[in-house]
Amino acid sequence: MKKVYANAAEALDGLLFDGMFIAAGGFGLCGIPELLLDAIKDAGTKDLTFASNNAGVDDFGIGILLQTRQVKKMISSYVGENAEFMRQYLSGELELEFNPQGTLAERMRAGGAGIPGFYTKTGVGTVIAEGKEHKDFNGETYILENGIFADLAIVKAWKADDTGNLIFRKTARNFNVPAATCGKVCVAEVEEIVPRGSLDPDNIHLPGIYVNRIIQGDHEKRIEQRTTRQKEEA
């Protein structure tokens, strides 16, 4: 079965529908599926729910779908970098479900592993625990969190082979692995598609079983907080 598509629009063809639930990889602007997000914007799909650690910035990442009012709800751990997000949230146009970062990652991992719920100590005694089942194990209290089962996962990797095996680069791996596993369908965008046999089978970060469609493209890879140090005088 052919997994390689010509571009983002073709790779998403037949997968998008209004009101759908999308899990997206990335942390901040690092490792986000920027080409697929652009294509979703162009497709005009509405009332989207996103499980994504962040919401991008105003003009990059999921932020571009906020500008076009295509997002109904965000499930995120931190959204501080996005003014348009805040405006829509405070005016009631956008729903927001805060998840602790590790809980969000594990909800994706669990969903992808066929686990509908898990208990965690994270958030016990906080607003996060309100309305959730509490259960004691070995004298400690835990809360029940649900696995995420998304209609679609969109992720960004460094390299893929044509069977969908993926390799990520440095901290751009982040949410891309758990997000990829929890979608009914996963579309991956990569910087380079190489022939099968070119990647070391011992060093595949995400096996191709999780990846249904792949595109190669040019990525802007914007830096959110460029921070440097001075070279010391010799």
């Binding site: 942390f27 501080g80 805060f98 809980t103 994270t122 901290t171």
Partner: protein, 208 residues
Amino acid sequence: MPWDRNQMAARAADELEDGMYVNLGIGIPTLVANYVGDKDITLQSENGMLGMGPFPYEGEEDPDLINAGKQTITELARTAYFDSATSFAMIRGGKIAAAILGAMEVAENGDLANWMIPGKLVKGMGGAMDLVAGVGRVVVVMDHTNKHGDSKVLKECTLPLTGKGVVDRIITNLGVLDVVEGGLKIVELADGVTEDEMRAATQATVVN
């Protein structure tokens, strides 16, 4: 003289032991890395890295290499990368020995508030709730009072909690306090700070 930011960070670095895997929060906790000396400390960045290095030199920034504050950083010879689920598995699983974090309020029972102020812009808790619930030891580094002069070391937190009963030790500009049975115990005073001054600035119960 109360401690300044760097002295607080240096004192917090004393909490770290050779061989520890540690997560440092944003602000003063970030400075702790400057004071670990010869100790073999591995810094975790919860977006998926162990062995976090310093900021890059100008022109060497890599968009694929950032810390949890989204700043560009560098890798070290010991560095390992992993995904977010693995990162929080090591946090939730108690593999990270300590987290050093900033705070808005700490209570005498170890409650910590550092993620939201009702009525103000809510940005999210990020990984803070996972960290305080999961790591071996939670050390808070913060100013003892807020800009209005009110104590941040309280009988009960007034702000929404990040974690309940999670703080082990508090390092402020006035000294060091431990969370113990019945309240807080003074462990150390900053040079020139008296016990009376520490008690006066502390709303929480101070036990002997």
